[in-house]
Symmetry: C2
Subunit: 406 residues, 2 copies
């Protein structure tokens, strides 16, 4: 790819290989409303304004307050817009017209980039599911008999998906300490994270139809980071027999920049071997493992480096499973991988695993210890993936700080 007329250092967070989409305004006093931006180096390009200036045939759907119309437009338009963007940013003749549409990335306020339709959370890391099984059900086999036959998932609450930077109020509810005869009520005392990767559906599918594994790239627009905040004490008491509810529904944070699937070609890898072989509807012809390398920081200290390449089920398999029963897809449907945990202790994607249910506190470099999250704690998840020509694709971050219970 030729160089950009924008000064992009080799190690810039968002080089030409990434070009993620987000939604921004410039803060209080900005009366133009939110608009679509593309992160490039230390800038954000006003995509709608740039498209109008450049005479793009897609200017109308890019001059909108969020990504909804772009998501609905489908793969050919996504590819065209991305190709145009690369042209605009590398063509010196465009600089004069486009530079006025760049704003300093540090000056913008980022918003939830699209309207969330349904939200499904999967459970696709064998290491995570095994660890959780050992902790929650120590007298049973850690993996349930269905686990290697289907990507287990469940629906979460769309209405409490929030953008990175939103404070998280510690949830309150029922928990049942083993020493008490009845449940007690109060703020959660085992507040946790789940470091995950999220996917957003662009192209919808009809009720009664199915999307196969190989339909993944036609339907999924892009990828982001997701923190599925979890209250382990609420969850442990409520989740039998119908699954997690209030232990999860208080908040889910997402990173503001959606990385297009097309930016991840160099990150595609074979997923781990699957044994037993899954049923035919879960087999695809192309690898959709993704070599994303996550980092989890607690108050600035790295506490885990979960490897997404180790996930047992791919996002393509999850999409096929989610629709095999005829469930429709809507533009804006979000689904997430489930906690990303690798085989090593330092690769576990939640504190439940990192501290083995609180029994093995984490010692932080500042001398303090943690089992679960304390008020004031800030958790930040970042990720990179291999890009073309030795570059790195960055995902920005999803971050949130814990406020005391109300």
């Amino acid at each position: 790819m030729p160089d950009s007329w924008i000064d992009l250092p080799q190690d810039t967070e968002f080089g030409l290989a990434t070009l993620p989409y987000g939604v921004y305004d410039t803060g209080p006093g900005d009366d133009r409303g939110t608009r679509i931006g593309v992160a490039v180096g230390s800038h954000v390009l006003d995509l709608g304004a740039a498209a109008l200036t450049a005479g793009s045939p897609h200017a109308d759907l890019l001059r909108t307050p969020n990504l909804d119309a772009l998501l609905a437009a489908g793969r050919p338009v996504w590819d065209r817009v991305r190709a145009d963007l690369a042209d605009w940013l590398t063509d010196p003749a465009r600089e004069e017209a486009l530079r006025p549409h760049l704003v300093d990335r540090a000056s913008v306020r980022l918003h939830l980039p699209f309207t969330v339709a349904d939200y499904v959370d999967f459970y696709a890391s064998e290491h995570h599911a095994t660890n959780v099984g050992r902790i929650f059900r120590p007298d049973q086999e850690p993996l349930t008999p269905n686990w290697k036959h289907l990507p287990i998932g469940y629906h979460g609450r769309s209405g409490t998906i929030v953008v990175s930077g939103t404070d998280i109020v510690r949830p309150t509810g029922q928990r049942k300490p083993p020493t008490e005869p009845s449940p007690v009520f109060g703020p959660s005392v085992r507040l946790d994270i789940e470091a995950e990767v999220g996917f957003v559906v662009g192209t919808p599918s009809p009720m009664g139809g199915r999307v196969g594994v190989d339909g993944f790239a036609d339907h999924v627009f892009g990828v982001f980071l997701l923190n599925d905040w979890s209250s382990r004490d609420l969850q442990a008491w409520e989740y039998v027999p119908l699954g997690p509810f209030l232990g999860k529904s208080f908040a889910t944070s997402v990173s503001p920049w959606v990385v297009p699937l097309a930016a991840l070609e160099a990150a595609r890898v074979e997923q781990p071997a699957q044994d037993p072989e899954p049923l035919p509807y879960l087999r695809g012809t192309q690898p959709w493992g993704l070599d994303l390398r996550l980092e989890v920081r607690l108050n600035g200290h790295v506490v885990s480096r979960p490897p997404f390449s180790q996930m047992y089920w791919t996002a393509a398999q999850q999409l096929a499973h989610m629709t095999v029963n005829g469930a429709s897809l809507r533009t804006g449907d979000v689904y997430a991988s489930g906690t990303v945990s690798g085989p090593e202790v330092g690769q576990r994607g939640c504190f439940l695993e990192l501290t083995w249910s609180g029994k093995e506190p984490l010692r932080l470099p500042d001398g303090t210890e943690r089992t679960f999250l304390e008020d004031g704690d800030e958790v930040t998840i970042t990720a990179t993936a291999p890009g073309p020509d030795g570059t790195l694709v960055h995902f920005g971050e999803v971050s949130g700080r814990i406020l005391p219970a109300v």
Copy 2:
């Protein structure tokens, strides 16, 4: 209440005590788009047109394609619009101006009445939960230890909520027959219904806040019938440990007429006694048991008469529970009661219970038997509740027919 200038027989389905809201058009060739209607007798009143004619200050939010704006307007507006409607329909001086805005109810096509935000399904019938526990987990106590402490619920799929009359395609997926070593793939062979009552949230609430039991009438706009179609074979194989997913997500049908909460004053009853006493956040000062009497018909034959008054947890308690962790409410959030089953065999709200997991087939008057649903079967759920002065409030119906798997 004075009589209406519309001829309303004493036994009319929708008398002045009900006045439910729906969304309609008049079918192919109607280029006005969908609009809000109120069912009265054998008519539908074009609410937006009537409001404009009558000079209502709320005409703008009623001249819209669905109930979203009315739902968001809140209890004082809901009460004002309902009072105005009663005035208009009983004031002889209004007849000439309003009669042109009546259409024959048999001629309209009804649509999903509002935009569904999140969907939560509860599990609030002790009789149902006990029966299901006995069937699915015969070696354990039928009720899990948490059941009488909190209204168990989980999130379902909003995108596959459809209006009554929509055909239901038999879902396909994995099931694990006990005689097979591995799961098999194919159309569900244990397709079921769940006869439920649904509630729609109008007034939203912020993240981090809570809605108490006594906030129910401020937030909930109205009530309708819901059939939570369920594939018992998909569900049994997938639901441990994270709950039902594909066994439910293929379709949920709702009745098209939303009955305002205000129409149910005469139907309010004390709920069954709760022992143990629930935690304080689940106690209210007013009764919110509701004496709805459901009827379930299979191909025209009544197969069950579930009594909603027997539900252990009320919709007011469910709302308080759903928000106690700080989860926000959005306009259009739907939540449902869970299967309504009474103590008698003929009061069970699903075929899983009615046929005891297929072991005791139902004999239909036409000489055929049923365990679970067959292709071509049509299920219709109706309900009535006591209205003022000995009248009955009707809920219309939620109906759906099974199409063969694709």
